[in-house]
Amino acid sequence: MRLLKLVPDDTNIGFLKWRNIAMAFSILTIIASIGLVAAKGLNFGVDFIGGQMIQATFTESETAPIPDLRDRIGALGYGEATIQRFGDANEVSIRMRLPAEAESRPEAASEMTENIVSTINAEYPDVRIDGVESVSGKVSSELFETGAYSLLFAMIAISIYIWIRFEWQFGVGALFALVHDVALTFGLFALTQMEFNLNIVAALLTIIGYSLNDTIVVFDRIRENLKKYRKMDIIALLDLSVNETLARTVMTSLTMLIALGALILWGPDVIFGFSVAMFFGVFVGTYSSVYMAAPILIWLKVGPDTFVPAESANEQAEKLGGPEQIG
């Protein structure tokens, strides 16, 4: 039986040749993402800006009457409604700011819900209310804060772990790769204006964990090769390491993308955004482990002496009769 090989044996692609162009490209995309977030902003859900979200399905209709809903709800005087398709064409999410008096009189929020629901119901009897979320300004700002802190902590904690397990240069490389992945995912959400809610923060945290998998596997091979081939030029060595692990990188990214693709296409509507964020994160994470993490090692002057000081390496080499046999 002949087995599938996605990456042929002895593949030797000169990845690092393109490192300056790739790095420029990466930095440009990061800047573009930040620019997008600044210019278009993120479409924050009620989790982060407070307010109310009603999820509704028009069970007998092909599509939800979004413009009409917008007019009718607008006429109620609670301010403008943000209405988006949610899953199938006959499912919508309706987002509202909480009424100003809700701060002092909590019933005001419930009254608004009931008002909106009965208004919709009067015109469209086939409407089914699937969920109501109502988050006060205080809770949403707390959620925002903890969300931001957890992302920051995760990036720093993981970089410190890499620093401890490898060397500081690798920690810096990992951190850059993470910033890249997270920034681009933010950019994607600014560009598409998909709702940015708590689930997306969960996705980002997961991306931080998983996108580093590739980086670590490459780093691990770089360390091994640095000890093995002490005379090799660093660029050639990085290329070798990336190529040696390429088959695995491609395989794992593919299995992850297969699973996430299934979630996007067939999975629950509520976590559509989450699945898209993860899919995108895995994709850019694979790229960043090759083109962000590795080149930084060159600029931070990682060499054969990073793990084994020159003298002890010689002693080891003598004992073992040549570096080739280590490992």
Binding site: A109, T206, L263
Partner: protein, 534 residues
Amino acid sequence: MLDFPRWKVISISLLLAFGVLMSLPSLLGASGQKYWPGFLPNETINLGLDLQGGSHILLEADPADVASARLETMEESVRAEMRRATPRIGIGDISRKNGVLSFLVRDSTQVDAARDAIVPLTSGAGLTGQRDWNIEVRDDTRFVLTPTAAGLENAVENAMETATDVIRRRIDEMGTREPTIIRQGDNRIVVQVPGLDDPEALKALLGQTAKLEFKLVDYEADPNMVAAGRAPVGSQIFPYPDNPTGLPNLAVKRLGGISGDKLTDAGQSFDQQTNAPVVNITFDTEGGSKFARLTQNNVGRPFAIILDGQILSAPNINEPILGGSAQISGNFTVESANQLAIALRSGALPVDLKIVEERTVGPDLGKDSIDKGTIAAIIATVAVLTFMVVTYGRFGMYANIALALNLFIIVGVMAMFNATLTLPGIAGFVLTVGSAVDANVLINERIREERRRGRRVIQAIEVGYKEASRAIMDANVTNIIAGVLLFMFGSGPVKGFAVVLMIGIASSVFTAVVVTRMFVALWVRRARPQELVI
């Protein structure tokens, strides 16, 4: 590396069998569990509210409310003590401004007596000997009582403790199954009620403080002053929305009332004359005799029924009510009367609670999510399994068996801890399908590589497992770090995701590294392969 003693094989197999066994009750579903033998473990996974439908409500108390309520109680106690003292101690100029209680003792020779009377009121209830209040005497006759931080903290703690109990009783009274009621932080309570038909009723019930008071109406008060919101001395003004006279307010006497916490029962019924919904209440012995005295002494006069600072009604006392039960009339519907009865039965909340977060999911959306999640999980699993076999042949098959076992173990471990599966948790499950094979990919690629370098079969396998293990370990530690942070910072459903993720990471390392190695070792021992198709 590849020699697997018999005891190891047996213990690994037992562990796997245990994991699969634990997972079965959850996988059978409600209909299949009937046939599950009773002597076997029968723990199952809980479904989160986002999957089975239900309401999640976060309630918050304002510590300032507790502080001001305490100040009020203190004022009443001080007044009572001063009246009770012999000779009676005259006080005046009482103020509760700036969070402190201050008053003047009119006769400076009574200052010491006043202090002696107040000291017992200010010592803490705990064993630490810490005071709840500091007493200060300024300018010889002015007493200033300042609450201590510890005392206030204690009071908030007690209020929240009581509030949690009251809420639990109220929800139990509603007859809802399996509510979850947990304190969160210093001043919050999380209420989760699955599969609820009427979330609005629940919210109304939780939001109601249900502080009931009976006070005599000050019928001598000047109606114009009352309408303007100014109370005569010794009286206070309450809003009265359903006042038959049309005035918005009513003045009632400060003293001589009865509070509604002296109840043994409350129930909804109908007024015999008007047939309007009312709430019948029964006082306990102490409350009953107080109420009898109040009505006896005030026949012909009106008294006000005050609920949460609003007058419900102010009926006339036609005759003394001696039986210890009374009827509360007001502008009720059957539902609101029933709700008030529940609230009164379960006791008043010691502090106002505000709903600061609410998430309600309808049962249809939850069911839809489960169905779609299951489909996505099956498709993902089949696709990944196929992909692995096509790529790694026999070794892919081993990885697949490991993956399948891994999925069973995740379910089993979650069931063992009665963990909750949320919608993001399903995503975590599918994600694990994609990522769990990573360890095997790493190992198999390494074996391929070692074979290419010319190592013999057995050696290549050994080196493959050994060298790949390091990267597997590092990669999974970073995932665990992310998972721990998710768990620490995430809210309900996201926590559920973190749980699945972490269990998945741990069990996937076990199945992908240890279990597949066992399979490979047993195969190598049996077949002694000279060539390796990988």
